[in-house]
Symmetry: C2
Subunit: 381 residues, 2 copies
């Protein structure tokens, strides 16, 4: 046994914990000016002004950047950098996009370099990144505890910036911030987190410390996601899913993902689709195949879910997705594409690391089978 566990930030959990943002920001030390990156939906809600008031009460000035939607683009990173001039603290609040923009910003603001300077590990991140507080509101990506940050480059190509320097110093998990998330997004984001936990716990890079978080995330999400979807204001269920998503972020930060993410990223390469939905669909159609590998890690994951063995995993996940009301359907944008198109995307170089880390070898024929299963799904519109 040999493994590395990457550092885990301070975590504060509780309904309305956001009300303590001011004192948390002050305790992080020396901050005078904060850059807040937040979803425009939240900013429009008055939350931006509220956070600025809290910071002002601690003697800090702040600026809000919320002029983005969907996955982060290079343009957003540059606009955020302009807002962050002179900031010594970055606060990210929202879904994975807001958090990824904020984490990258904390690095580029420290060095003055453009985001492209760091894309695909072209250069190491600066050691003196600004302090970062991350506040997830969607319970899905786990970006608040990971070192990975995704954005679309100049030609729309998916790029990443990776490094421990981009990780949060403090994570605030406030379930009250998640109650307004619509049912379908709650389900999709929650399943994304479940798949993070499952894949990190069962792929070839799985290790005991990663599984400690991955297993607990699977328990928390499987036991509480259906209730969070059915009863959006159930703070207990919301909180457990939020904590599970955070633990799942720790799991993938250490052990990464696998085949469901190869499929999911390939789908995103064809047409716009919510990452959580694509991941859930890719997970469900590949799991019967994966479970046949029947490794010790798969058996352990099954046991964590109360199942006698890996053979029960696929039915369990199908029941979970049913209980969360997830329609097995593709967005209309997939209309023009064939299974061959999707299989080609699955074979793209950038999707091979996840394919290779899968516990079972995925042959080209396997990918063709997965692609057919996805593309024969009903299409919307």
């Amino acid at each position: 046994m040999k493994f590395a566990l990457s550092h885990i930030p301070d975590i504060r959990f509780g309904a309305d914990e956001i009300d303590n943002l001011g004192s948390h920001a002050r305790r992080l030390g020396g901050a005078r000016r904060a850059a807040i990156v937040m979803d425009s939906f939240l900013a429009g809600n008055g939350l931006g002004a509220r956070l600025q008031d809290m910071l002002a009460a601690e003697g800090m000035t702040s600026e809000v950047y919320s002029d983005f939607a969907g996955e982060p683009k290079l343009r957003h990173l540059r606009e955020a950098a302009a807002v962050a001039r002179d900031a010594d603290l970055v606060i990210g609040i929202g879904g994975g996009s807001a958090l990824d923009i904020a984490k990258i910003l904390a690095c580029t603001a420290a060095s003055g370099e453009d985001a492209m300077h760091y894309a695909l590990a072209a250069n190491p991140l600066p050691a003196n990144a600004l302090k970062k507080i991350m506040i997830p509101t969607t319970a899905g990506t786990g970006s608040e505890t990971s070192a990975t940050n995704i954005f679309a480059g100049p030609e729309g190509k998916k790029l990443w910036i990776w490094g421990a320097e981009s990780k949060a110093d403090l994570v605030i998990l406030d379930p009250a911030l998640t109650v307004s998330l619509p049912a379908n997004l709650t389900a999709w984001c929650g399943m994304d987190a479940f798949v993070h936990a499952f894949e990190a716990s069962t792929n070839r890079n799985a290790h005991p410390a990663g599984k400690l978080f991955g297993h607990q995330a699977m328990r928390l999400i499987a036991a509480n996601l259906p209730e969070a979807v059915r009863n959006p204001s159930d703070l207990e269920a919301r909180g457990r899913v939020l904590l599970g998503s955070c633990y799942a972020g720790i799991a993938i930060d250490n052990c990464g993902t696998a085949i469901a993410h190869t499929i999911s990223h390939a789908m995103a390469g064809l047409a716009p689709v919510h990452h959580g939905l694509a991941t859930a669909l890719g997970f469900e159609i590949s799991l019967p195949w994966l479970a046949e590998a029947d490794t010790g890690d798969l058996a352990e994951a099954a046991s964590v879910l109360g199942l006698p063995g890996a053979a029960g995993l696929a039915a369990f996940v199908t029941r979970l997705m049913d209980a969360c009301g997830i329609a097995r359907a593709l967005p209309a944008g997939f209309g023009p594409f064939t299974a061959d198109d999707l299989a080609r995307e699955m074979r793209a170089p950038e999707n091979q690391p996840m394919r290779r880390s899968t516990a079972r070898e995925a042959t080209d024929a396997d990918l063709d089978t997965f692609a057919r299963a996805i593309m024969t799904m009903q299409k919307e519109g």
Copy 2:
């Protein structure tokens, strides 16, 4: 549900991971000169020179301080500070004493203040503490992941320095470094870690994130400590106990201890006794009383150990201590003292926080009962 999880350092686990100390030190950034605090036993073994060679290969100079034994005294902290002049990295390697000295040193070296400046939270620790690598070799105190540091003040009084600033940046868990620990120390230190995990998971401050670590620590230690005692060179068993001890350190860093530590610290106030032995003895005699409280946390701890309920805990722990060959006997130094003397120590102000955090209210009559049970044990010599 509301809780705080304090940050967790980078952790590298593996037999002979110590061989990578040089590259770890380099990666921590900017270090040119390291102060190494290590047990004299290890320094005498040639390990000190080996570590210095590794650092030299990375262009770093270093000094070793190992002139201490037993619990750290103020004098040791001052001697270490003299050695650390101009250091920008502190490496602690050994038992809890070496790690506590190293962690305090990283703070005093940064500010130039004496350790007494920070004792009992007289002043906040400096925000710019030196980088710290902690390498435990006894699998017991969990100091490598905690913010608590213990030493004896000018009049021999037990003092503490507490603060997140004193926490490690990197922990190296190398089971190969623990194989030379004698059987009785392996058992005592391992039981200390087990009690950390149990008390953190069941006291009034227990919370879900702390229990994630406490429960896993209980599983790892209960399942592997007897084998580590019986077969000292079993690296698998040693490794699982070492990881369990590290997780137990995370658990107490967040949730603290309880009545067994009130008893253990009181015993140390009377006569010299190994902390792990005193804690194990105090735990075993108070557990039947504690288990009667039958709280949800106690039931959960029992379930983690494969027991149907809290009523089975006491017998389980007695079997575990038997399997580890722990003699229920006091050092000869306890000869002159009575149960009343011990009960008075238990009521000392510094031992009340642990008493109060216990899941069941410990009355003065309860303390008298515990004191009698301890003092009627066989005395050595």
